[in-house]
Subunit: 393 residues, 2 copies
């Protein structure tokens, strides 16, 4: 297998298509922010549920305040939360608070600012027409009306309306469950001293946080030596719990390529994709679970994630797609022929500069970057000032 | 207190200034994504820590492969994770894997693709110059060098480099801790049947999710009746645990304004801000904790949050500021004089349309909106096609 980035991306998209049809799950409304609504949500009731006052003031029959000033007797008080007023407004006024039910016979609200109270009588300085400051039942939503459409990424404003109609739980698309396995006899977890020849494992945490940043749920992060039996055991654990497994390392031309050795006999396709960094790639479907095998250099792993996994995960999670921009580059550069290059760049004042060499071990340079500069396989030289395609990290 | 949006925003900014200087806290690197790094992080070690191979192949003395093809004896093998090779390369070749330490005497790597092995000898088809495919110690980072600067919002690529140098925990700015108290005798939690005159509380969950979406940690969400004693108890609980308290309701002109009645005697400033929705507003500093009092209508609450709280919370959390856009509006509209209007709008094809009436109880319309249309207090009419200022929700 030797393929272009576009061909490999096509193969990955095909293999990960199940992520777009994950089953729904029910979550409490309080935890639903950022989740994708699985089905249209219709209102179970009218909003407002009952005719109520938009202002603090007096509920009146508009006819009785046609000529002002006029003084009416106060027949009662109705506060928000009250079941209603026993008083029937008929040539009288009922003191009313915002949100309180409007008494029978009233059809307008006179705001408190336009009134003067003396004993049990109120003088009204300005009349109001029928319906003024009255919120009719169902004037916002009628029961059965669509409140939030399936496929909506739920934000606070959607959660507000669902809470307002008494919804406690919502049906949302399950997040893609992802498992990570890093491989390499040289890897040591943070907190342990390094022996000669060893390095700290950074791919596990980098992939886990990248997955979470793009809407996936990380079910496990494991580390394997170059021992096939150990890797196979960790792989089986991952396959049992995940919709997607990502491995790092063990895919190239060496003598101890544990990922390739394990997955190739299971039908895995391993080979070179015409890109730099990130050339060696593997793709395997095991028990209907896709396994993406990225190379082990830290920059290769992160770039592979951005190029192949990120777009599909964001789509599955309903997150907005990352859109490429075209920006002028600050300096001349050369690119390896026949390889699509993803250089680390930084955008300042609408221009992009290169922040790191092309080496796939230059992880510190990756931290300084805010974009990947995407140079086509045909590109060999670029002059300062030329527009290049960049992807935000 | 009657003030403009700008004046009130200025007062809120002054009162919330402590949020920009919250103390640091230490979190595991695994939980650091999206957090603001509190201090410059210098590398404790070189990266790479030791001179290693960039390729699977053979470590040689470049001088011995100057003229090719050449056949060398294989003096040993060094894999990634090995402490090194005991063999000294001197006219021989050592089989080497990517990431493995380079043996003494070797100064170039010949990729395996350019070699043919027979028994214990390797024939090399193409020579390499000194340093080719050799990663020198410290070529990415030297111990003591800046890895990630204070004030960086940590993403996967920063976490990757910190993991690569063995960092286990990082010092990050503490998130603003916020407490929410909604008020109103008419409010009922979801899951309970509604009696006449009652409505479901939506402001608690709407404020909580809005706070979290903008980098705050929500320490409590409470609901108070219009009883001053109950509200005061809930307020004291909130003040004990939070950097910021947000209340909803109880701030306007009615007879049962529990928030105003409690906080005004403590020095709170309550009055009308020239905006719609969201006019009645309160601001109080209690025990050095700022209390923002928003009006209780669901749309007023959400708009108040967007206008007054969101910009400051995002700044405190290091999140990018929300930037206004200017877009043409699809229809003629009128605006109340002397009130800055925030209408609910929806952007389609680069134009903004209005999705809801101006009423502050129209929470379903808020859910359909993706922007707030910001009309100045001086604006009374706008013609279709005019550019208006919009803020993304």
């Amino acid at each position: 297998m030797a393929s272009s980035v576009a061909e490999h991306r096509h193969a990955v998209t095909h293999m990960l298509r199940a992520l777009d049809a994950l089953p729904a799950e029910t979550v409490p409304l309080r935890d639903a922010r950022g989740r994708l609504l699985a089905a249209d949500l219709l209102s179970p009731l009218d909003l407002p549920l009952f005719r109520n006052s938009q202002m603090d003031g007096f509920a009146v029959d508009a006819g009785s305040v046609e000529s002002t000033p006029v003084t009416l007797s106060i027949a009662g008080t109705v506060a928000a939360g009250d079941a209603g007023s026993t008083a029937h407004v008929a040539g009288t006024a009922v003191r009313i608070m915002t949100g309180a039910p409007i008494p029978d016979g009233a059809d307008a609200i006179v705001p408190v600012e336009d009134t003067t109270v003396a004993d049990d009588r109120v003088t009204i300085d300005r009349g109001r027409t029928v319906g003024e400051f009255v919120r009719e039942a169902g004037s916002d939503v009628v029961a059965g009306e669509l409140l939030v459409a399936a496929g909506t990424l739920l934000a606070a404003r959607h959660i507000a309306v669902l809470a307002a109609v008494g919804v406690e739980t919502v049906s949302v698309r399950r997040r893609p469950r992802a498992a990570v396995i890093t491989t390499g006899a040289e890897l040591v977890p943070a907190g342990q001293p390094l022996s000669p020849g060893q390095i700290y494992d950074s791919n596990g945490i980098a992939l886990a946080t990248s997955l979470e940043a793009n809407g996936a749920e990380v079910v496990s992060v494991a580390r394997s030596s170059d021992d096939v039996t150990q890797f196979r055991r960790l792989l089986d654990d991952a396959l049992a719990n995940a919709d997607l497994v990502i491995t790092s390392g063990g895919v190239s031309m060496g003598d101890f390529e544990v990922v390739k050795e394990t997955l190739q006999p299971l039908g895995g396709q391993f080979g070179h994709v015409g890109m730099q960094p990130g050339g060696p790639q593997g793709l395997t479907m095991v028990n209907d679970v896709p396994v993406l095998s990225f190379p082990g250099n830290p920059v290769s792993t992160l770039v592979s994630f951005e190029v192949f996994a990120r777009p599909l995960l964001r789509k599955a999670a309903g997150l907005p797609a990352v859109v490429a921009a075209d920006l002028p580059i600050t300096r001349d550069l050369t690119s390896v022929p026949n390889r699509r290059q993803f250089l680390r760049g930084r955008v300042r004042d609408g221009q992009v500069d290169i922040v790191s060499g092309p080496g796939s071990h230059l992880v510190a340079g990756m931290a300084l970057a805010d974009v990947l500069i995407d140079l086509s396989a045909e590109t060999t030289t670029v002059s300062a000032g030329t527009h290049v395609q960049v992807w935000a990290l």
